[in-house]
């Protein structure tokens, strides 16, 4: 069975993410006959953002457990070579000068060790003015995955553009999503975007004191400390945060993402960043 994977030639992460969700849903809906292989046809893809590569690779690695998958690679050489370098879709051990390959881990892995490995690799590659900001973001967001998501598969990827001193960081888990977790814990919200908003405001499903700060402080760090942009997509909610508009837009996706994606883009600060200002 051939599944055409259409991804627009755009720099708009939200547009590509919506297209990836369509592809992911089609993978889930694919009815394969005995012995049939699902061919994911990326041949016409001319541009793929790190967030899209992350989402799709997580789905493929999950789907490989229950079906046979082949990939028709992009005809565009640049895209093809990029996907090979980042280890799409299964992840890889080698790393490049400006990126970390897609790193997958599951709920049987030691999450702390996985993040330690990633942070150790990325530190040498990026501008020193980032300080501990990448460590902080990876720590808090992966901790949320471990604490809340009930995930089976998670993926992290970073891409550093050394000429512009600009970084993309993406982290995705295939867990129960923020809105579903809120629903299970009896927390009220009006729609999936509202659930995400409450999460970044510090509403926590854990009752102990001092909880609920991970996403909130990460947002503060990205927007205020790093002057960056943050996309949080969970189930049908999509929240886009940037320093100019605080919330650029929030929209409900047409189809639900089965998991939570946090995708951040920011530049190196002009001087060394002290993350403590953003920690509550």
């Amino acid at each position: 069975m051939n599944l055409k994977c259409n991804i627009s030639n755009t720099d708009d992460p939200l547009k590509q993410i919506q297209e990836c969700i369509e592809i992911i849903n089609k993978i889930d809906e694919a009815e394969l006959k005995n012995g049939e292989i699902l061919n994911l046809d990326f041949s016409d893809v001319e541009w793929i953002l790190p967030c899209s590569a992350l989402l799709l690779s997580n789905k493929i690695i999950e789907a490989c457990k229950i079906m046979d998958i082949e990939i028709s690679p992009p005809k565009a050489k640049g895209v093809h070579d990029y996907l090979v370098r980042i280890g799409f879709p299964l992840g890889c051990c080698s790393e490049g000068n400006t990126f970390l390959p897609i790193n997958h881990f599951n709920n049987k892995d030691n999450v702390n060790e996985q993040v330690l490995k990633i942070s150790g690799h990325i530190e040498d590659k990026i501008d020193k003015n980032f300080g501990f900001s990448i460590n902080y973001l990876l720590a808090e967001l992966s901790d949320n995955i471990e604490q809340h998501s009930q995930f089976t598969q998670a993926s992290i990827m970073t891409q550093y553009y050394s000429d512009k001193k600009y970084i993309d960081v993406g982290i995705f888990d295939n867990g129960i999503t923020i809105p579903t977790l809120f629903e299970k814990k009896g927390l009220k919200f009006s729609d999936d975007c509202d659930a995400i908003k409450k999460a970044i405001e510090g509403v926590s499903t854990k009752e102990e004191q001092g909880r609920g700060f991970g996403l909130k402080t990460s947002k503060n760090l990205v927007l205020e400390g790093l002057n960056g942009e943050m996309y949080i997509i969970s189930k049908k909610g999509a929240l886009i945060l940037n320093p100019k508009n605080k919330e650029k837009s929030q929209e409900l996706m047409k189809k639900a993402l089965k998991g939570t994606l946090i995708y951040m883009q920011f530049s190196a600060p002009k001087k060394g960043l002290n993350i403590i200002k953003y920690v509550e």
């Binding site: 460590n135 001092g210 403590i276």
Partner: protein
Amino acid sequence: MEKTRKVSIFDKLGERIFTRITMQDFLSEISKLKEKEITLDFNNVKFISRSCTDEYLKFIRTSKKKIKSINQSPDVLMMIKAVENGLNAILINRVNDTSKCVLCEN
């Protein structure tokens, strides 16, 4: 029986500590030690996450053992202070007598 024991956090957890469960598991082991006084040596620890710091401070506050911490780097100290200030604010808000800080000894 030895009264005090020194534990190197770096030896147990490495130079960077990220997830809450990692710190919880480590502190659970510390709780089970026979010694009544424990010195937590932060030498070579470069980074501790906010979540881990939160667990560490809760442990300090509630442990039946006497806990001393040494050799924290400036960055680790700043994180501890920031999270401690945040915890203090929560506790001050919840205590009827707002002049009393439950966490502060001073």
